[in-house]
């Protein structure tokens, strides 16, 4: 029993939200008669949502710091048309176009970061302005026209990894990814045990580690099979690889670097952060600028997938990204949220979209259901916080500690306010 608890006290945080996602997948798998878990559909889910997931990585940092960014869709549209045009009209190589796009994202981000961090205009206003301005910029530069992009860019959005090597029945690139993933899981489990030994002298029982790692290995193994066993020439999508790399980078930045800690500190208590030596302005500048850089990456992936940049690219993305972040357990008041949680929140929305579509539910109903799911997820969170119980979503994404504190904080300050 204790071992079961240990499995879940540490493990449920990282695995649990995935379980919730799995439940959704299983339900749809049953109701659609097995149309969800096919290689092609899984690849479509990744390809069709990678840009929103990319945005939610940046958005969660913005929201943790206590801001919001409404401009991401428009920024992505502006960057997309720039990339498409410099490649078509200036004749630069595709990768130069990509670099130019990211630099443009950085410049746009610096512009918005300047107003938010150094002038002190709320992010809501600054990016509402950006929402209008950069949408207009896209249509001004592109003359409200659609501009096609070359094959290499297209493969970033809807391409697959190479086929090579011996006949394994799977796509070998995907297989390599899967093996890397398994190795990572095992390595991190060993590391966790080593750290525990260093700290308290007692790591969790071996059986707990084995089960924990075992579940992760099975999941990765199944995903490897799912993505790798599609028709010849398909694999885990390139866009998914870009996403994985960025998730890894931002997981690292948010949890293991001073910059990341400062983002949480600013969102948690700005005054206390300032008195702890945190440079508030620089931190705010960073999150706003970073968001636009990620929007530019999302733009490149998206124009690749749709094979062209158009005047209505990115419409509504900001709201999808924000929804993903809040479903993933972030708090409107800032200071709370995780990169992993936001990705999972985004995947919940993606699977919901996909599953309902496969069931033949119209887009009208789908919108209504998605709206209710967002409300329900957050209401559930709020209810649990008010009750003083750990929030389910928070617990599942490793944010429960913060979530409880967030709920308790306002109450704790009431006597002081009298």
């Amino acid at each position: 029993m204790t071992q079961l608890k240990q499995l879940f006290s540490g493990g449920a945080r990282s695995f649990g939200m995935v379980f919730a996602l799995l439940a959704l997948i299983v339900i749809f798998e049953i109701t659609t008669g097995g149309k969800v878990l096919t290689p092609t559909n899984a690849q479509n889910i990744i390809n069709g949502n990678s840009y929103v997931l990319l945005l939610s990585i940046g958005m969660v940092l913005v929201i943790i710091a206590g801001h919001i960014d409404l401009s991401v869709g428009s920024v992505a549209a502006a960057v997309g048309i720039i990339v498409a045009l410099v490649i078509r009209d200036w004749g630069v190589p595709w990768w130069v176009g990509v670099l130019i796009g990211i630099v443009c994202g950085a410049i746009i981000g610096a512009w918005q970061g300047f107003w938010v961090a150094y002038v002190g205009i709320p992010g809501f206003i600054t990016t509402l302005s950006g929402y209008m301005f950069f949408r207009g910029l896209n249509q001004f530069i592109g003359k409200s026209d659609s501009v096609p992009v070359p094959d290499q860019i297209q493969s970033l959005g809807n391409g697959y990894l190479w086929e090579w090597g011996p006949q394994t029945g799977l796509n070998n690139s995907t297989l390599v990814l899967g093996i890397l993933g398994v190795a990572l899981v095992i390595w991190s489990e060993f590391r966790k045990r080593a750290n525990a030994r260093k700290l308290d002298g007692v790591p969790v029982p071996t059986i707990v580690s084995v089960v924990r790692a075992g579940v992760a290995v099975v999941v990765i193994g199944y995903l490897t099979y799912l993505f790798g066993s599609g028709r010849y020439g398909t694999s885990f999508p390139v866009a998914g690889v870009i996403l994985l790399v960025l998730v890894a980078i931002y997981w690292f930045v948010s949890t293991r670097t001073i910059t990341g800690r400062h983002v949480y500190a600013v969102g948690g208590n700005k005054a206390a952060a300032a008195l702890s030596g945190v440079n508030i302005k620089r931190t705010n500048f960073f999150v706003m600028m970073n968001m636009s850089v990620l929007a530019s990456i999302a733009a490149i992936v998206f124009i690749g997938r749709s094979t062209a940049s158009g005047p209505f690219d990115g419409t509504g993305w900001e709201l999808d990204a924000i929804a993903a972040v809040f479903i993933g357990g972030a708090a409107v008041s800032g200071g709370v949220g995780t990169v992993a949680g936001s990705i999972i929140g985004g995947l919940v929305m993606a699977v919901l979209n996909n599953g309902l579509q496969l069931m033949g539910v119209g887009s009208d109903m789908t919108q209504m259901i998605k709206g209710l799911v967002l409300l329900a997820a957050v209401a559930f969170d709020v209810y649990n916080k008010v009750q003083g119980r750990p929030s389910i979503i928070g617990r599942l994404t490793g944010a429960d500690r913060r979530a409880i504190a967030a709920a308790a904080a306002p109450r704790a300050t009431v006597p002081a306010a009298e």
Binding site: L199, A272, A274, N279, A406, A409, A416
Partner: protein, 516 residues
Amino acid sequence: MRDQAPILEMRSITKTFPGVKALDDVTMTVARGEIHAICGENGAGKSTLMKVLSGVYPHGSYDGEIVYRGEEVQFKDIRSSEHAGIVIIHQELALIPELSVTENIFLGNEVKGSMGIDWHEARVKAKGLLDRVGLRIDPDSLIKNLGVGQQQLVEIARALSKDVDLLILDEPTAALNEHDSLLLLDLLRGLRERGLTCIIISHKLNEITAVADSITILRDGRTVETLDVGAGGVDEDRIIRGMVGRSLEARFPDHTPTIGETFFEVEGWTVEHPQLPGRLVAKGSSFFVRRGEIVGFAGIMGAGRTELARSLFGRSYGRWISGSIRINGKDVRIPTVQSAIENKIAYVPEDRKALGLNLLDDIQDTVVAADLKKIRTNGVLDATLAHSAAEGYRKSLRIKANTVREGVVKLSGGNQQKVLLGKWMFPEPDLLILDEPTRGIDVGAKYEIYGLVQRLADDGKGVVVISSELPELLGLCDRIYTIFEGRITGVVDRAEADQELLMRLMTGTGARTGVA
């Protein structure tokens, strides 16, 4: 002029907060038509008593009874006490800057006409009320365009609009300059002529002796005495004796200081208020701290102690005008908090929850927050280093928590304070500035904090303690500076310090001033 029957009697009022008895059997009688002053040190229970009276703490949350105009009253909130004619004006004014004088006066008490609010009638009434408080301004002016003194008068006009019988003023002159203070006191005398009864809380003893008819003195939540000013013999010294008249008990660990050389010097430090240009919060302050020394800063609230400390700590408050800091004999520039930390200065703020802690964090994250560079291995934050650092403080500071991953929000005030001390010990500062380190924590935890402060001094660090509790400064510090209205008015060695001397220096009535 003064009626025989008292307008108010508060009998045996006792009010307890978790762990603290704020009021203990307090009795007070206020005669009709008098100005009655309440005096006492910070924390003596003055404001709590007034909150009991005005219904902020409703009937049932305290023991004892309140007899008002001859009958017992049981107020359940501020509205019910206002209904009975008791109006309290708080130290922080409750006016809305963006609304006009008229709108503010009748806020929550609007003049109703046949169709919604009758603004014409309201304006006429406001004009009349402003005349009564001697304020000749347009009732349509916005509050934000008025001076603090005028705003205070608007507050009184607002109280008058509610048919007030008993007006309570909490530190009404704290934010006013001398001229405005005199005007306000004159107004109070005028209102008394017309039969209004006032209760006034003030630290400014000269004003109290000038205006009050009788004075109730509180100390540690108890009534000490009530003085009748008319009977004569009441002067500031007499009041101070009543406020502090107690010997220091054994509330402090034994300690023999080992004082080394001077290492931290401040010279001519002058700082302007961040929002009010021209108002100085520190006026040419100079002081020094020696290794192994505990230096106290005494002053009444608003004297500028916190402002001085925070302006020194990386200019985190106000606008720096002039002055220099020397550390170990070398002039240093400390324009940011980051540079203050690098220069081995730590500041533990007075308001734990607003300025000290991120309440979302756990103990471990809090302890390392001021010096994240120390927990990096190969440039990456290392949770195991953070964990062992936090675990070390949990044990050595005896923080009551099962693990260092417990959220700070769940800890008691004393334990939160220890976590904060740990946070600021972690960067290994040479100078620690502790702002009200024992505010709102219980006696046992106070004792432990005192011991920690002494240990820090024994390690050769300089410790500056800002406190509003004089006994604490006298029991803990080797040397005490007094501050009055942004100026350092004196410095007293422990051997020669007593509460009366300090109280005189920190209320600007001291014999010795301008000691550097």
